[in-house]
Amino acid sequence: MTAPAATAAQTASALARARRRSSVARFWRSYRTHRAGLFGLCALAVIALVALAAPLLAGSDVQSVTNAPGAALESPSAEFPLGTDQFGRSLLGLLVWGARISLTVGLMAAALSVAIGTLVGIVAGHFGGWFSTLIMRITDWFLVMPTLVLAIVLATVMSRSVWTVILAIGVTTWPTTARLVRAQTLAVESRPYIERATALGGGHGHIMTRHVLPNVMPLVLAQTTLGISYAILTEATLAFLGLGDPDVVSWGGMLQDAREAGAVSSGHWWYLAPPGIAIALVALAFTLCGRAVESVLNPKLGVSNR
């Protein structure tokens, strides 16, 4: 308030903030009309809460084998609502703890994938020329690689850990995002105000981070949400194939344990069903959210019920 310049700057930033707030509000109003999206969001909130409160809900020694409370492979009872595993641990407790790993891996792997994709896409779109061609050639190359096969190979090569799984998923799934972001970048950069910004002396970094990035963010958001469900399914797959971290409990790992214990042929369906349902539920929730986000941002797709 001391100098007019400062006032002007503050007003500008206040304006920007207000504009952002109103666009978020608009987004939410529109999102609210998608009932499936709301359902997904609620489901996610509940699951995230369960994952965060795992130590309170299930106790922290659920994973201990030496202090396992039950006998091996008990069927559901009042004490163990979902029965026990082959070590006599409560399956409900393990399921609750498993939510943490599945969500963590899903979120981080999708974030990694989208981060790589966005970076590659913006850089390729911004610079153009032979550089862009080269980068997009590499992207195409990754695009034809069988993703799951590549992820399995990577997970086999590296030591068994949660990070390996995140990395294996992240580095194999980015090309789709890269292509989309590049297209969007090209569209954004053809607008007149980018030209103006360049004329005013904005460098490459400035244009990419201040103008292009905010404009591709909605797309990136949609991609991330959809990517998470894929990442969660892939994590389960890798764990099921025995490529997960043996020290942590994850849903895919539980399914592998169930299979190794012979639960399928012994008819212990209660060991098998819950982890799969949990995986499907989370994947579905993220997909529903992603579709809702997408249709808010791009109503032409006709996902909405209108």
Binding site: S64, V65, T66, A72, L73, Q86, F87, G88, T156, S159, R160, G242, P246, D247, D257, R259, E260, A261, G262, A263, V264, S265, S266, G267, H268, L301
Partner: protein
């Protein structure tokens, strides 16, 4: 998704539809071609099999879970393949079902020369190859000579001939083997003898898999008639087998990648026998009608191996084993903090025997138990005391740290495909964690690399023990170490102990069975005291068969023994079909047929409906 604004042609439909139809037809044709190409083997044999089934042919179907690595005895190393070879070829000797002593096989008797360097085998005259030719000493000599000369032929069983100097067949019934130095295992040469007249034509033994020409010429109790990779191996009984023909009309080893599938198939009567059950499967099968679960003492030991400091014969040390493990007290402490009882009860659900000596109790002649004073019992307090003595005291954070400041953090190599490794790893983490020792369970598909490089601290280890213990003992001698760090040795765990080696050398040349057994027990005692190999358990063989298909079957040992993976062909050779025979397979296949037809009809209907839908639209267009 389509951002172009080119005006759309209003009449592309017929072309699109045609192309789509072409695509669909193409895909279907592809699928059908694939179906047609799948029965790679000629049909006539199958016709014969089908008609025979109508005559009430009794088939013994065995579920197997391993892929056959090769049908050539020169290359085959997996249990399923060596089992096949046991069935179709004869070894010189066989093992008695009661106490594993050597009994006649292709050879009727065998004698050493006084200096024990020349062995003479008398070959039986009543063994014929399935093509009618006589099996002779000439065939045996050729088999051994080929393994001695050709590296490719030595892939699987080269170790048996390593000490051979010369093998000859002076007459068709006399085989003479000359040795470089005496060895006690001459009645335990587990090498299938091959028909020379068939195998001479083979060019490169390292690439010949013996799986192109059927039936395979052999002289065992069964004749291999058909093999389809990862699907089945089929046999017919050898009616002229000198010990008597098997009683079933057909033997099939059917491949199930998945244990659950095999168990379900057993339950439905698709197979007569399944092995390698999990405790849960055994429990649920035991409750089923017409199924007998066989819980037999196993031939494996399941041990905790510690890296004694990997080294090669030239004295070079390599690898990165934790130095604390060189201290015998630390090794003892680790074992004292391992509750073998719980492992047997929880991990194996009681289907195992608590580990003591190196050789499982099943081989009673060689089994050894530690004396009361020698035994390292489960005692966490004593373990803590031992660690304190060894200078590894707990620090403020509850972790044990050596004088050099290095904490006791170990890695244990675990086989990713073995659920038991992972399960025991979980328990060890907690037991040892209470003592202040960190443990990282390093599960890998391929443990060979770090293992051979000595890059491990501890490892889950296990071997199937043969009736003759020579091999499992030899892998702990200094002679088995690799020559240089770059070589591969036969050593299991880089153990090199002078006292153990002395005893090993003595037992090799000891021809008196009782004395040799005494030496073998002394060796186990020594191994126990060093603490490099701590046997945790002897897992049982858990298997099950259908009593409505198999009336009787010989186990090994005869009382309370196992069925799959015997030393010899006893189980399948002896199996007696149940009265009424194998009918379930028939009904199964007819319902299968009905459902199969149903599935085909549904598929056709779906396609038809789609086509009809398209057609109808054309009709409407015309009106």
């Amino acid at each position: 998704m389509d951002t172009t604004t080119v005006p759309r042609n209003a009449r592309p439909s017929s072309r699109v539809r045609t192309l789509l139809a072409v695509g669909a037809v193409g895909a279907t044709a592809l699928a059908l071609a694939a179906a047609a190409a799948t029965p790679l083997n000629p049909a006539p044999r199958q016709v014969k099999a089908a008609t025979a089934a109508a005559d009430g042919k009794r088939t013994l179907t065995v579920a197997v879970s391993q892929s056959v690595d090769s049908l050539s005895p020169f290359l085959a190393q997996r249990l399923v393949s060596t089992t096949v070879h046991r069935l179709i070829y004869e070894n010189l000797t066989n093992y008695d079902t009661k106490d594993n002593h050597a009994i006649p096989g292709l050879a009727t008797k065998w004698e050493p020369s006084p200096d024990k360097l020349t062995w003479t085998y008398t070959i039986r005259e009543n063994s014929r190859w399935s093509d009618g030719k006589q099996a002779t000493a000439e065939d045996a000599a050729w088999t051994f000579n080929t393994m001695m000369k050709d590296e490719g032929a030595a892939t699987a069983n080269g170790s048996f001939v390593a000490n051979f100097k010369k093998v000859t067949a002076p007459t068709p019934t006399r085989l003479v083997i000359e040795l470089k130095k005496p060895q006690a295992t001459m009645a335990a040469l587990d090498v299938p003898i091959l028909p020379r007249h068939e195998w001479e034509k083979v060019g490169d033994f390292s690439k010949f898999n013996n799986d192109k020409k059927f039936p395979v010429v052999g002289n065992g109790p069964f004749v291999l008639t058909d093999y389809k990779v990862d699907q089945y191996v089929k046999f017919r009984p050898n009616q002229k087998f000198w010990r008597g023909a098997p009683k079933f009309d057909e033997l099939v080893l059917k491949y199930y990648k998945d244990g659950d599938a095999a168990v379900a198939a057993l339950r439905k009567g698709e197979v007569s026998f399944a092995a390698n059950l999990t405790p849960a499967q055994a429990a649920s099968l035991a409750a089923s009608r017409n199924i007998k679960v066989n819980d037999a003492p196993g031939r494996r030991f399941y041990a905790l191996a510690t890296n004694p400091g990997a080294r090669s014969k030239d004295g070079k040390k390599f690898g990165d084993g934790h130095p604390a493990l060189l201290n015998p007290k630390v090794r003892q402490a680790l074992f004292a903090a391992t509750d073998r009882r719980t492992i047997v009860d929880k991990v194996f659900q009681g289907h195992a025997v608590e580990g003591e000596g190196y050789i499982p109790p099943r081989f009673s002649a060689y089994h050894w138990k530690p004396t009361a004073g020698q035994k390292i019992a489960y005692d966490p307090e004593k373990a803590a005391a031992l660690l304190d003595e060894a200078g590894y005291k707990k620090n403020s954070a509850g972790k044990r740290v050596g004088k050099d400041g290095r904490p006791l953090d170990f890695r244990i190599l675990c086989h990713a495909i073995d659920p038991n490794d992972k399960a025991v790893g979980k328990y060890l983490q907690e037991w040892w964690g209470d003592l202040g020792i960190g443990l990282k369970v390093d599960c890998r598909d391929n443990v060979s690399d770090p293992w051979l490089a000595g890059e491990y601290d501890l490892a889950f280890d296990g071997w199937s023990v043969n009736p003759d213990p020579d091999f499992v003992l030899s892998i702990h001698t200094c002679a088995a170490l690799p020559s240089t760090p770059k070589d591969t040795g036969a050593t299991d765990n880089f153990i090199c102990d002078k006292k153990f080696d002395e005893l090993y050398a003595k037992q090799t040349t000891e021809y008196d069975a009782a004395k040799r057994a005494g030496l073998v027990k002394q060796m186990q005692s020594r191994l126990y005291d060093t603490g490099y190999m701590n046997v945790m358990a002897y897992p049982n063989a858990l298997e099950a068969y259908r009593t409505d298909q198999i009336k009787a079957i010989t186990t090994m040992p005869e009382s309370g023994g196992n069925i799959w993976g015997q030393d010899g062909y006893w189980s399948w050779w002896s199996a007696v079909p149940a009265d009424g025979g194998d009918t379930s397979g028939e009904s199964g296949s007819s319902t299968g047929l009905v459902i199969g037809i149903g599935a085909a009809v549904v598929l056709a209907a779906a396609l038809g409906a789609f086509v009809a839908m398209r057609r109808r639209s054309t009709a409407e267009d015309r009106e």
